[in-house]
């Protein structure tokens, strides 16, 4: 596939170097801070589970209690395990319940030996969670060996979004039977701004279903049944994003989800979550994903729903380069990088399809080892469902021509409703026709001057923008509306109060292992 665009390897190397330079300060920031959700994720891996009668998870109650007593800057692991050791309450969930009742107080031990003991126990507890994550990963590997990966590239990715896990399950199974390789359960509109992860099986989401550990478990189990039935391992996707990104990453690892939406800037731009909060949560969640063998899906496609897909094409490239840098830094391998991009050029534009090919091929050749996530048209979809199905067909074709890794299947009703059962069927039939009938057309696709020129132009603009960001800072660029036209200053946005600077004695038994 590589080589159709004649990209100059020196220019590509320069782009990567600039992205590293632009990203490094943010990494430094992430390494020196923690958040309530990072700490809760640690506790989840350490075995704290369940929620109080109001549905507030015990991890929240426990972190809040620790924070009230000693702040967050030391990490919660040492104070919590120290309390466990001193009170003799070894079950951390029970400890959380007691803490919530006000019957436990936390502090940071002063004696070296106490610190060492607390750290040792914390490490052992966290290791339990990580071992579970490892087991799940091995399980996945085994199932893939048994059932096999999809026969074709791109993998076919379908969403379910009924809001009710018990409607989602049969729809997901039906979608898999009809040809989906990956099922994504879309989240309820409100969840990203919840500063806790809901508990249990849920049936009342709006335009999506809550991400809960139990919903993860139910869906994964159902898809295991379907994988067996079909002799093809069906992957499951959810969202490690929003205020609880690190915890959801941990839950995903423990419930064998296979892919997670996880972008370095999506929460900042589209959920108005504080940038620092996001970057700290990001790094941790990616470290967990790396360990869990989860493929991440980044969110550059979203920029093109608010900004123009031609004018802002280079911002997608810049963001992909940054996402790659952050991902590598967090330990993710190239095969785990489902970098996002989308078919969002105004279809009325002359040569719109060829511009799409140029952009898609640029991503392909810049990241040859990454399983790129190719998103369908949404912005220019209208209530004209006949035209919609046609556009989706050309999107599918562009995906096949440019060797995309993960094809998020577009629905003709994009502008109307969250997908109906029949929409998915029609969409899959569309994908199958295109992949079966024209999937090999890349053999006959040799970009001419127009496509090559456009791709090189976008890369050039990306480098210019990266130079500006390096000169300035990434935080300022985000504040200025560089990405998706959204302006998000570093000192604003939701969840900032959940961020703390790490103290010198900060200890995190999970990152210690994952770093």
């Amino acid at each position: 596939m590589a080589g159709k665009l004649d990209l100059d390897p020196r220019i590509v190397a320069r782009a990567r170097a600039l992205a590293a330079k632009a990203g490094q300060p943010v990494v430094d920031l992430a390494r020196s801070h923690t958040t309530v959700s990072v700490e809760r994720a640690v506790l989840r891996l350490a075995g704290v589970h369940g929620a109080d009668p109001d549905g507030i998870p015990w991890v929240n109650r426990l972190v809040d209690a620790v924070r009230a007593d000693v702040g967050l800057g030391h990490g919660v692991a040492v104070p919590v395990l120290h309390a466990a050791l001193t009170t003799g309450v070894e079950d951390l969930t029970v400890l959380a319940q007691k803490a919530a009742a006000g019957s436990v107080r936390f502090d940071v031990p002063e004696k070296k030996a106490d610190v060492a003991a607390a750290r040792r126990h914390a490490k052992r507890a966290a290791a339990g969670g990580l071992k579970l994550v490892d087991r799940r990963r091995a399980e996945r590997d085994k199932l893939i060996r048994r059932y096999g990966d999809p026969a074709q590239r791109p993998w076919i990715y379908l969403i379910v979004a009924t809001g009710d896990i018990y409607e989602d399950i049969p729809q997901a199974q039906a979608a898999a039977r009809a040809g989906a390789d990956i099922i994504a359960v879309i989240r309820s509109t409100g969840q990203s701004l919840l500063d806790y992860v809901p508990e249990g099986a849920t049936r009342e989401g709006f335009a999506g279903t809550y991400a809960t550990q139990e919903n993860f478990r139910l869906m994964r189990a159902a898809l295991d049944v379907t994988s067996r039935e079909l002799g093809r391992y069906i992957r499951l996707t959810n969202y490690a994003s929003g205020l609880c990104m690190p915890e959801i990453a941990a839950l995903a690892g423990m419930e064998r989800l296979d892919m997670m939406l996880n972008d370095s800037m999506y929460g900042i731009l589209f959920r108005d979550i504080n940038p620092i909060r996001t970057f700290v949560d990001q790094r941790f969640s990616r470290q967990v994903h790396a360990r869990a063998g989860i493929i991440i899906n980044t969110g550059e496609d979203n920029y093109l729903t608010t900004a123009d897909a031609v004018e802002a094409a280079h911002t997608v490239t810049v963001s992909q380069l940054l996402n790659e840098f952050f991902a590598h830094e967090a330990g993710l391998a190239d095969w785990q990088l489902g970098l996002g991009h989308a078919f969002e050029i105004n279809p009325d534009l002359p040569d719109s399809f060829r511009l799409e090919l140029a952009h898609a091929l640029l991503a392909r050749e810049l990241f040859p080892e990454a399983p790129l996530k190719w998103m369908p048209p949404t912005k220019h979809m209208t209530g004209d469902v006949f035209r919609g199905n046609l556009l989706d067909g050309f999107f599918n074709l562009a995906g096949a021509l440019t060797g995309q890794g993960i094809l998020l299947v577009g629905m003709m009703t994009e502008a109307v409703v969250t997908p109906w059962l029949s929409d998915r069927d029609i969409a899959l039939q569309n994908v199958k026709y295109v992949l079966n009938g024209a999937g090999n057309l890349h053999e006959d696709f040799v970009p001419g001057p127009f496509i090559r020129g456009r791709a090189n132009q976008v890369l050039g603009e990306a480098i210019e923008l990266l130079e500006r960001i390096v000169g300035d800072t990434l935080m300022d660029a985000i504040a200025d509306g560089t990405f998706g036209l959204m302006k998000r200053p570093a000192d604003r946005g939701k969840g900032l109060d959940g961020v703390a600077k790490q103290e010198a004695d900060y200890y995190n038994p999970v990152t210690e292992v994952l770093a």
Binding site: T162, D164, T382, G383, D384, T413, V417, L421
Partner: protein, 244 residues
């Protein structure tokens, strides 16, 4: 289950998709008119999701919405196959044993209709969907008159060949051509031959309603996806089994 509703993405949501053109230019009133029609069809609420003017005088609409109608599957009328599906061997055996002569079949595409693929699929050796056509059956004697056969010619040939059954295909339906032609055909046979001598009259085509045999004056109607075996089995059933 006997009472069901359309399904969008949740059991019982009643959702359907509808599109149509109204002969008025596009404006708010036109959209209201479109919603009025959707309402009369029982859509409530109805969402008008697309409207596009075509030329000066027409507007195309797409509407999504919920219908309140219940579907009672117990009340559904269908023509179920009321005869056993036989293999070619069995068909031949029955004819040989019971009729003791070959069964004569005359087929044609009548009127100005020239779509022979359907009738050929039933009659010609080649058949369809992996099944051989009636010509393959050793005990059937098949005359395929081809396309655009006039009704008098058909009656004449049926008489000449001593047809036990006449198979007529009709594909073009504009202005109900298929219904007119079928009625003309059955009337001609009624006129030409006394009841006892009349061949079994069968019509087929993708847009027939199987329930209309009475209205059209024919014995049986076959539609989309018919296979030769079904027709052969029916012939044996109607001409031999049920006459004994």
């Amino acid at each position: 289950m006997s009472i069901i509703r359309p399904y969008g993405d949740t059991t019982g949501d009643g959702m359907v998709q509808l599109s149509f053109t109204l002969p008025i230019p596009h404006d708010k009133r036109a959209e209201g008119a479109a919603l009025q029609l959707a309402g009369k069809m029982g859509m409530d609420p109805a969402m008008l999701v697309h409207a596009k003017q075509m030329g000066d005088e027409f507007t195309f609409f797409v509407v999504y919405g919920k219908v309140g109608h219940l579907v009672d599957t117990d009340q559904v009328q269908v023509v179920e196959r009321d005869y056993p599906l036989l293999s070619a061997k069995e068909v031949n055996a029955v004819i040989k044993r019971r009729l003791r002569r070959r069964l004569n079949v005359v087929g044609a595409c009548i009127g100005t209709d020239a779509h022979t693929v359907g009738i050929d699929a039933i009659l010609n050796l080649k058949g369809i969907a992996g099944e051989k056509g009636l010509e393959y059956y050793s005990e059937l004697s098949v005359t395929n008159m081809g396309a655009q056969v006039s009704v008098p010619d058909l009656v004449e040939t049926a008489r000449e060949k001593k047809a036990d059954a006449v198979l007529v295909s009709q594909v073009v339906t504009q202005r109900d051509a298929h219904l007119h032609n079928t009625r003309a055909m059955s009337a001609a046979f009624r006129e030409a031959l006394p009841a006892g001598k009349r061949p079994l009259l069968i019509v087929g085509g993708p847009r027939f309603d199987e329930l209309m045999t009475g209205e059209l004056g024919v014995d049986r109607i076959f539609t989309r996806g018919t296979t030769p075996r079904e027709v052969a089995s029916y012939l044996v059933h109607a001409l031999i089994e049920s006459r004994s």
